[in-house]
Amino acid sequence: MTRALEAEGVAIIARDLTRRFGTFTACDRISFDVRAGEVFGFLGANGAGKTTAIRMLTGLLLPTSGQATVAGHDVYTESEAIKRHIGYMSQRFSLYEDLTVTENVRLYGGIYDLDNRQIRDRTAAMLSRLGLTRAARDLVRDIPLGWRQKLAFSVALLHEPRIVFLDEPTSGVDPITRRQFWELIYEAASSGTTVFVTTHYMDEAEYCDRISIMVAGRIGAIGTPSELKQQFGAHSIDDVFVRLARPVQESPRP
C-alpha cells in the first residue's frame, strides 16, 4: 500500500502511528498523508503529542506500533536515511551566532556530506538570491532577525532535502519579513519540496495548504483551512482550534 502511495508523490505516510511512554499514550494511532510539494501545518495544544509525532517522523524516536514512511524511508529501519533527506529549522535554534554567514553554510554543508564545490556554488547562489552577498563575512548575530530566519530556512534546504520541517518559523518577525518568508516557503513547495510546519500561531496556519490539529494524542481534524472553518462553522483557524482543544484541561501529573 505504501509503495503505491509513494509512486503518487506522497512524502509522508503515517498509519496508526503510536507511541507510549509507560502507561501514557502520547501519540494514539495517528494516520495521515502529506503530499510532495505540499505545505502542511501540524498544530496542537501543548502536550497534545505534536513533539512526539515529529520526533518519530524525523527518525529520532522509535514508534511503539503503527507504520510510517518519510521520503520513502521506513521510520523503524531507515532513520539515518530519513535524517539525510529532511531539513529542519527551528525558531529557537538554527544558526550559530558566533560564526559568520559563510561559516554557518559551510558547517551545514559539511554535516550533510556536500563536497567543497557544491558548498561553494550553492552558497553563492543562495546569498545572491537572498540579497545577502555583502553580508557573507558578517557574524550571524550582527544581521537582523528577519534575515537570519530567511538564511536559516535556506540553509535547511542546502542539501536539497525532499521534506523540510519548520518549527514556528516566523514567530517574532515583522509582518513584511514574515510574508517574504512565506514566499520562500511557497517557492520551495512549488519546486517540489514538502514543507511541514508546526506553529502555535493560528494565523500562520492559514498560510498552509492543509493543516491537521492534534488533540490529546489523536488527529482531531485535518483539511484545508477553509474546509476546517466550514466544518466547524468558525471564522478563523483560531476558533476551530479552541473549539477542538478547549475541552481538554490539564490534569495534575504525579
Partner: protein
C-alpha cells in the same frame, strides 16, 4: 500628547535609549489612560522590552522622560516599584521552587503574605491550586504564564506591565490569558501588554504599533485598521504562489502580499474605483492563465470554491502596520542595512533585572 478629562496612568515623552551603536528607542511619546488595556504591538527588536523596562523603573532613558501613576520613573523609582507590577518576557520565576513557594517569596519581597493577598489573586490562583506543590520549571507554558501573572499581582499593583505574556504559549492558553487580562481590567487595573502578534490587537482598548524604536500609530485597533488609505482587495486563488508571481508583474500593482489563505492587493492608481480594479485584476490574471496553471497536487486539493475570486475587503491592523513600516524593509529590497535596534543577544547583554533574579534561561 492627549490631555482629556481622563487621567493618564502613563505619559511617555520623547524617550530615547541607545545601547552602544544601536538605537532601541528613537523618541517615543504616548499616553496610556487609567483603566485601559493598552497594547504595544511590534516585532522582536522593535524596542518593546526596552520601553517596558524603562516604565517598570529598571532602566534609565538617555533622553526624554516618563511618568507612571504621576511619578517620574527615574526620580521616584523606589515609591513607584511598590505600585507597579512587571512581568518580564522571559520566564523569570524560580524554576526550582514550587508554585506556592514562588508566590510566598514575591509576597514577602513586598512585605505582605499570600494569605493577606489571597482575594486579589484568587481568580487566577484557583486555576493553579491543583499544582501548588509542583516545581515552577515543570509547569506547561500556559500555567507558567498564569503563575508569573499571580506573582506580578501579589503586591496589589495599580498598573501592570506585561512583556510578551503570550509568546510561545498555545492558542487555548493565549485566549485564557487575554480573558484574565480583561477580567483584571474590569476590576479597575490598568494593564500595558506587548505582543508581536497583530491578531492580538483586537483584545486591547488601544494599541501602539512599534517598529525600529518608533511608534507608527497610537489609536483603537478599529481606527488603526480604518486608517488604511487605499482600497484593499483579497485575491482568492487555488494557485496562490503563481498568482502572487503574476501580480508582481502587473503594471498597476502597488503592493501584493500573501495573507493567510488569500493575497492582499493594493493598486498604484488612486483615481480608479475599487470595482474596476477588481475587474481588471481578475481579467489580467485570466490572461496570464492563472486559473488553469498546473500547480501540482496541492493546487488540486486546495481549490475550494471557484479557482479565482477578487473582492474588496476592510483592512486589518496588520495591513496598516505593513503600509506604515516604511521603505527600508520593502518587500523587494535587496539592500542589507545594519540593524538599528538591539538584537536578542545585545539586549540580554545590556539588560539586567534587579527585582527578579533569573534562575534559568
Amino acid at each position: 500628547m492627549t490631555r482629556g478629562v481622563r487621567t493618564d496612568a502613563v505619559v511617555v515623552d520623547s524617550v530615547v535609549k541607545q545601547f552602544g551603536q544601536t538605537t532601541a528607542l528613537a523618541g517615543v511619546s504616548c499616553a496610556i489612560h487609567t483603566g485601559e488595556l493598552f497594547g504595544f504591538i511590534g516585532p522582536d527588536g522593535a524596542g518593546k522590552t526596552t520601553l517596558f523596562r524603562i516604565l517598570a523603573t529598571l532602566l534609565v532613558p538617555d533622553r526624554g522622560g516618563a511618568r507612571v501613576l504621576g511619578e517620574d520613573v527615574v526620580d521616584r523609582l523606589w515609591s513607584l516599584r511598590t505600585r507597579v507590577g512587571y512581568m518580564p518576557g522571559r520566564f523569570s520565576l524560580y524554576q526550582d521552587l514550587s508554585v506556592e513557594e514562588n508566590l510566598r517569596f514575591f509576597a514577602s519581597v513586598f512585605g505582605t503574605t499570600l494569605e493577606r493577598e489571597h482575594d486579589r489573586i484568587a481568580p487566577i490562583y484557583r486555576q493553579l491550586e491543583a499544582f501548588r506543590t509542583r516545581r515552577a520549571g515543570a509547569l506547561s507554558g500556559g500555567m507558567k504564564q498564569k503563575l508569573a501573572l499571580c506573582c506580578a499581582l501579589v503586591h496589589r499593583p495599580e498598573i501592570l506591565f506585561l512583556d510578551e505574556p503570550t509568546t510561545g504559549v498555545d492558542a487555548v492558553s493565549r485566549r485564557e490569558f487575554w480573558d484574565l487580562l480583561s477580567q483584571l481590567k474590569a476590576g479597575g487595573l490598568t494593564a500595558v501588554v506587548s505582543t508581536p502578534y497583530m491578531d492580538e490587537a483586537n483584545r486591547c482598548d488601544r494599541v501602539a504599533l512599534i517598529q525600529r524604536g518608533r511608534l507608527l500609530a497610537v489609536d483603537t485597533p478599529d481606527a488603526i485598521a480604518r486608517s488604511f488609505d487605499r482600497p484593499l482587495l483579497a485575491v482568492h486563488s487555488a494557485h496562490r504562489y503563481e498568482t502572487l508571481r503574476a501580480l508582481r508583474d502587473y503594471p498597476h500593482t502597488h503592493t501584493v502580499y500573501p495573507f493567510g489563505e488569500t493575497l492582499h492587493y493594493t493598486d498604484a492608481r488612486t483615481d480608479v474605483s475599487v470595482e474596476q480594479i477588481a475587474r481588471e485584476v481578475r481579467a489580467f490574471l485570466e490572461t496570464r492563465g492563472v486559473p488553469r496553471v498546473a500547480g501540482g497536487p496541492r493546487a488540486i486539493e486546495s481549490g475550494a470554491g471557484s479557482p479565482l475570486h477578487v473582492e474588496s475587503i476592510p483592512a486589518t491592523v496588520e495591513d496598516t502596520f505593513m503600509a506604515r513600516m516604511g521603505p527600508e524593509t520593502a518587500p523587494r529590497s535587496t539592500d542589507l542595512t545594519r540593524p538599528t535596534v538591539p538584537t536578542e543577544s545585545t539586549r540580554q547583554r545590556h539588560s539586567s533585572d534587579p527585582t527578579r533574579s533569573e534562575t534559568a534561561k
